[in-house]
């Protein structure tokens, strides 16, 4: 169902993109100019109109002055990945980037700009439509204060867009009054600014445009939230009490969200005390040390960081793996190596996470795709870490972490009990003849832990990264060391029993009855782009099965999926096909069978990129890459 079309009645007339609820609009702003809340207001008004929407910030590593963009995909069909390939409407509020912004508009699209000053003729294109708004004139006329002029300029263009796109003003009014519920004085001036833009554009242009919004009822009970907030809230629900962290984009807001929610939900006013501790560490090494220390004591504890932080944590991760101390690490990935592109997205930390640290180490990793997953998998991560007594690394990325994502509502089952793993109480210790911390008494490769301070006589041992025997006694005997390493490996192989299963989507058979010979494997934020690409490919007669990974190590079903298909395409957002390497390494599968579909320029993956990359591999050069 495509409602977007490019109509041109005669060859001479300018093309006009006309579309209801299926378009991309991009705002070009200046960093630090207060545009973020107006842009969010716009995106939220689409959401409130019942239409699926996916907004994305594109911002530099800078606080003030450089260009930033906010790209909003409106999609009645529910496609939330970056669409790619130019925009339908550009709202240009930044003279600095105007030259490149004007080039990004698709033929027949619209360029909304401040016409207080005439447009430089170099910006003029014959194939797009210009909509001038006297933004500076209006703000100079209406406001004295320079700061107010700047702030309200943003709301004024939202008002103009409401007229141009036919978004109902009362929807936006309501959002404004919710936003300023605690600063009521601000409601009226904002609603007025909205109308300034709304009225101004109606005087000079015929509204609405051929691209417009029509209210629908397509979002149901969905929510809009950033993945980082969902992780922070997940940690609160999971019963995490100690968060230790060091600021780094794009993960900072995970710790901030944890603190925000915990301060609302776990603060005792009467005694002015908290049922949590958030420690801003001196660096990521210290953050991981604190997490390990707290978990050693049986307090659920986590940290959040990005690639550079994971690098610093690796020595400690090896200790936690070897000494079998639970730990939860949320890695919100960004484009590396080194500082790379710190405000751009990537899935580049797969190998450095799965095999973090020296010696033979392997870590459980989880891959959420949206805020629903971020919340759920954060909760799972603590259970898994305590059950398996090992670090669990959750890999999200900037795209889901820092953008408001439309997602299924968060779910909680009040009957669910945390799995605190095998920890002996004083009473249980009493009944044991001889406690051995690394003694596998149950035959499941998971020995029992004890917490400091439990029993006066029994259960104390020395936690260490040096080799020891089953009773935690230091030893350099090769056999004892090797027995322990073998058990750790066996524990790793049994880990999938506790991990979320991959999501497998079988296409069934094509019209001709062929079973799928193509299988797509992907994870994390690639999900939406891949789903969209597969829709397009299936509409073009291709038969494709999908497997969305949620965890490493892999379930048997991953091996089966690979065996079942002639061609496997591993789609990921990095240069070196890191997940493909893990698949080869862990499943020993034929490298020739695993084809790489890679995207790593720092932008989120789009369906068109997936299709462009798979076309030559699948021998289907004639397929169009967009809907």
């Amino acid at each position: 169902m495509s409602v977007q079309q490019k109509s041109s009645s005669s060859s001479k007339a300018k093309p006009v993109i006309s579309s209801v609820n299926e378009f991309v609009i991009k705002f070009a702003n200046v960093n630090g100019s207060g545009s973020a809340s107006a842009n969010t207001l716009f995106a939220k008004s689409i959401f409130r109109s019942g239409i699926p929407v996916a907004p994305r910030n594109i911002f530099p590593s800078n606080i003030q002055g450089l260009p930033t963009w906010y790209e909003v995909r409106v999609s009645e069909q529910g496609y939330l990945a970056k669409r790619g390939g130019g925009v339908d409407i550009m709202v240009s509020v930044n003279p600095q980037s105007m030259m490149e912004d004007v080039q990004e508009v698709l033929p027949g699209g619209f360029f909304v700009y401040d016409d207080t000053k005439p447009l430089d003729i170099r910006m003029l294109r014959r194939d797009i439509h210009y909509i001038g708004l006297p933004l500076t004139d209006i703000t100079n006329r209406e406001y004295e204060d320079a700061r107010l002029r700047q702030l309200f300029k943003n709301v004024i263009y939202v008002g103009a867009l409401a007229a141009l796109l036919d978004i109902k003003l009362d929807v936006i009014d309501k959002l404004i009054s919710e936003q300023f519920a605690k600063k009521e004085k601000l409601i009226k001036p904002n609603c007025e600014a909205l109308r300034l833009g709304f009225d101004a554009v109606r005087e000079s242009h015929s509204c609405p445009l051929a691209i417009r919004v029509e209210a629908r009822d397509l979002v149901g009970d969905k929510i809009m939230m950033t993945g980082n907030s969902a992780c922070g809230l997940g940690a609160v629900y999971a019963g995490a009490t100690v968060a230790a962290w060091y600021p780094i984009t794009p993960s900072t807001s995970v710790a901030e969200a944890f603190e925000k929610y915990a301060s609302q939900l776990r603060y005792d006013k009467e005694t002015d005390t908290k049922r949590y501790a958030v420690i801003q560490a001196e660096d990521e090494l210290a953050a991981m040390g604190m997490v390990i220390g707290a978990n050693w004591n049986g307090a659920r504890s986590f940290t959040a960081t990005s690639g550079p932080g994971v690098s610093l944590m690796t020595e400690f991760l090896g200790l936690a793996y070897f000494a079998e101390v639970p730990a939860v690490l949320i890695d919100v990935q960004r484009a590396g190596p080194s500082t790379g592109m710190p405000t751009r997205t990537q899935q580049g930390d797969i190998l450095s996470s799965v095999y973090a640290s020296h010696g033979d180490t392997r870590h459980v990793c989880l891959f959420p795709a949206d805020p629903f997953d971020c919340f759920k998998l954060t909760v799972d991560a603590f259970d898994i870490a305590e059950r398996l007594q090992t670090p669990v690394i959750m890999l999200t990325d900037l795209d889901v972490g820092m953008n408001d994502c439309m997602s299924n509502p968060l779910e909680w089952d009040d009957n669910y009990q945390y799995d605190r793993g095998k920890v002996l109480s004083a009473k249980e210790l009493e009944e044991i003849e001889k406690f051995g911390r690394y003694n596998d008494v149950d035959g499941d490769n998971i020995p029992y832990r004890t917490l400091p301070g439990t029993h006066p006589e029994k259960g104390a041992f020395f936690t260490r990264g040096t080799s020891r025997d089953e009773f935690a006694i230091y030893t350099e005997k090769g056999e004892a060391y090797q027995r322990n390493m073998e058990r750790l490996l066996a524990k790793w192989y049994s880990a999938p029993d506790y991990l979320p299963e991959p999501v497998i989507t079988r296409s069934g058979k094509s019209a001709s009855g062929a079973t799928a010979s193509h299988g797509f494997i992907f994870f994390g934020t690639s999900r939406d782009a891949v789903h969209e690409a597969v829709d397009i490919l299936q509409n073009n007669g291709q038969v494709i099965d999908m497997l969305q990974l949620l965890a490493v190590p892999f379930h048997d079903s991953v091996r089966e999926f690979i065996n079942m298909h002639d061609h496997i395409y591993v789609i990921e957002q990095n240069r070196d096909a890191q997940m493909r390497t893990v698949l080869m390494n862990e499943l020993d599968c034929d490298p020739l069978k695993l084809r790489s579909v890679l995207h790593y320029d720092g932008s989120p993956l789009s369906a068109s990129v997936v299709i462009e990359r798979v076309k030559p591999l699948m021998n289907i050069e004639n397929i169009q890459s967009s809907n």
Partner: protein, 350 residues
């Protein structure tokens, strides 16, 4: 190195208030070199914990990596211990404390562990005023990696091969004073009389307590020309005060000369009585402490004793506003806001 421990115990070994003999505080047999200063410190810790009548299992031992950091194996066998990674014990201790503030934390580190690789974490644990005893077993070298100079080696000190250290040393006592430590002491592994009461006071102190103990490495740094040898230390030690720790329940009987004593009441009610050997050094005054340290340095002496104490600064638990119930013992009900609340949060996100 002692190869065996006599199994025979005297039937009438004295017991402390909790009824424990000293044995209850001992550890495994040391594998350090015979005569290593670190072993004397372990003995002092055992003595202090016994005298304080602490419950052994309510103590947590944390350390980094080094000969010194190994030593927690050799005391308090009934306590949990954590031999972490080189230079990072402070962070492990911080997390552990945040998770359970109801244990007594004894941290053991070396001069390499604290003043080189761990300098950053050392500084930060000081400024957090974490409730712990932080023991630096300072031998001026890296014992475990065979005797290289550490950052606490004094300028001009000679290595075993005769090389003279050209670099300035880092004095952790000075650093700690500078960044706001609330209990700063120095001692000598060979002076049990001084060390034991200092350890007791440090454990009773509410907040971070540093004891920098000169602890000679007999194998790599005990030769003529080294400023961390037994001989050199004995010759240059200059005690700033004689410390007497009086537990809260004991009546104060000792008599001190007027003007020569300084008493400090600790948070648990116990008293610290100091007989001053240097009347101008008032350990309750930061400026006096810094001056005393500087003066001793200029004289080429090693100032020991309690150098500075501040019982007023809020400790880590207070600053973090952690409630009385340790975080690790909160139940799911106390931690998880539940489904109804989540529905409200969902609603706020639409």
């Amino acid at each position: 190195m002692s190869y065996f421990k006599p199994q025979f115990r005297h039937p009438q070994l004295p017991t402390n208030e909790r009824g424990f003999t000293r044995t209850a505080y001992e550890g495994l047999i040391s594998t350090l070199c015979a005569g290593c200063g670190h072993d004397s410190i372990s003995a002092a810790i055992i003595q202090a914990c016994w005298e304080l009548s602490l419950e052994p299992h309510r103590i947590a031992k944390v350390s980094g990596i080094g000969c010194s950091s190994k030593s927690p194996t050799y005391f308090l066998n009934k306590s949990h211990g954590f031999n972490s990674v080189h230079g990072r014990m402070p962070s492990v201790a911080t997390g552990a404390f945040a998770g359970n503030h109801d244990l007594n934390y004894i941290g053991v580190s070396g001069d390499g562990d604290s003043a080189s690789i761990g300098m950053g974490q050392f500084a930060h644990v000081v400024r957090r005023n974490l409730n712990m005893l932080y023991m630096v077993e300072n031998n001026g070298c890296y014992g475990l990696t065979k005797g290289q100079d550490s950052a606490t080696a004094d300028e001009g000190s000679k290595s075993r091969t005769g090389q003279v250290n050209p670099f300035e040393n880092i004095d952790l006592v000075g650093v700690a004073l500078e960044i706001g430590a609330t209990f700063v002491a120095r001692s000598f592994s060979g002076d049990k009389q001084q060390l034991v009461p200092l350890i007791k006071a440090a454990i009773a102190h509410k907040g971070f307590a540093l004891i920098d103990v000169i602890s000679p490495c007999v194998t790599f740094n005990n030769h003529h020309g080294s400023t961390k040898s037994y001989d050199y230390t004995r010759e240059h030690v200059q005690s700033g005060n004689i410390v007497d720790f009086v537990p809260s329940r004991t009546e104060i009987t000792a008599n001190y000369e007027e003007g020569q004593t300084h008493s400090v009441q600790l948070h648990d009610g116990s008293m610290l009585n100091l007989a001053k050997t240097k009347p101008e050094h008032d350990p309750g005054n930061l400026r006096a402490a810094v001056n005393a340290l500087q003066a001793s340095r200029e004289e080429g002496e090693i100032l020991t004793g309690l150098i500075y104490i501040d019982t007023e600064e809020p400790d880590f638990k207070t600053m973090m506003k952690i409630g009385e119930k340790p975080l690790n013992s909160l139940s799911q009900d106390e931690l998880c806001p539940g489904g109804e609340r989540l529905e409200k949060i969902n609603a706020s996100l639409r």
